[in-house]
Symmetry: C2
Amino acid sequence: MHRKSGPRAALPCPPYEAVAILWRMTSPSPANAHSPSIGLVGFDGDDTLWKSEDYYRQAEQDFESVLGHYIDLHDAGTAQHLLKVERRNLAVFGYGAKGMTLSMIEAAIELTDERISAAHLRQIVEIGRRTLQHPVDVIDGVREAVTAIAARWPVVLITKGDLFHQEQKIERSGLRDLFPRIEIVSEKDPSTYARVLAEFDLPADRFVMVGNSLRSDIEPVLALGGWGVHTPYAVTWAHEAEHGVSSDEPRLRLADTAWQWPDAVAAIEAGNE
Amino acid sequence: MHRKSGPRAALPCPPYEAVAILWRMTSPSPANAHSPSIGLVGFDGDDTLWKSEDYYRQAEQDFESVLGHYIDLHDAGTAQHLLKVERRNLAVFGYGAKGMTLSMIEAAIELTDERISAAHLRQIVEIGRRTLQHPVDVIDGVREAVTAIAARWPVVLITKGDLFHQEQKIERSGLRDLFPRIEIVSEKDPSTYARVLAEFDLPADRFVMVGNSLRSDIEPVLALGGWGVHTPYAVTWAHEAEHGVSSDEPRLRLADTAWQWPDAVAAIEAGNE
């Protein structure tokens, strides 16, 4: 994308949190307010455009198979311990397959009281490598739906996780050509979305986010005064399953599949005008 | 940074490689050409603005101390083996401390023929965690030099590596306020710089890149027709030490310390007008 913005690029960024608060304060209560039309539609990547969680679940199963050589999986609450280690490590390692692999290694050493062999730990490194190299399967209807939406509104891909891995997945998905702008972010909270919207110079009530995670894709956007289209994925990581979105949220639309996305956005625009 | 670019954001990106080639073809031979003035000054992060490689060297030493329990370090060429495993893994793990940690774990298992204990592998995970949490020491003169340059020209931070770790380092450096734009990239090659310049809508001959790595910061920018200011750091990772920059390159300036950066950029601008 070209920007005629050489000098403008020198302007300092506003403090993101302040922007978020300001928007929340000035956004009209949107359910029945008269707002301008939609100016940007954002799409999540993992488990919205392409399958991802399945491969992490497979990694978890493979991890448990390795651990099964040492401990009784039913007693140990292995998955719970892994999630505990993962959460403790999120602050250090961030999201993504590399952090997950380091967490698995650490959890395996902890869970086996340092009895696990180097050969088995090598297998865990291999599980991580396979997860990083998993094939990228685009979900049914996604290409058609994004194409239809991009014909009417500007679109942006907003995806969370490891920069290197996400770039590879975008390439392998074959969807790159649909997205003039791609934002790879380390966390999906209100200040992240506020920064993206500030870059587009767009008020939150003209923004729709499409995604599978209420916690990451919907809740922070609603908090800013934006709109959400939620398409649940078959499996959800326990960490993403925790959220505070009410089922009768007026700025949230449910779409069972990607095929319904264009109608869902159009409905928001129609009600929004 | 605000951009009045809602509709423009919907334009498709040009193919980056094509842009890079086009610029290389159309850029004037800049040594004695009459070019417009400098429009953007880019700064590398690690080992240019703050110390980084020292912590990776420390990690390497700590790693070798662990391995010393199993193998004769003089015979085994441990560092060479580590570099070999790291390079093999760059295509899977990318740059950064997490990839390094996974590589160290894998190398340790390989080098010890799977004899290494879980307790020692746990120490290697801890080496990685320490590297990810190392203090960020801003290099002498950097704040003053960047402040002086930012008063005359737009500036951008272009840093390579893990998104999450780089964001943390930028925060801890206290330099965030100096940079209205921050680009965290997974690789520093001509197409990456071409993409950044396309976002600023700037021809390469108006761009100066300041950095410690001839391979990552200087060579790809010169290849596009841009300018380089090189400030060597005391230690250089072997992977970054390989480059094809000639010592009599006319678009390259040497600055021994950050204190000389403003004069170096001013000299390029003066010769460039």
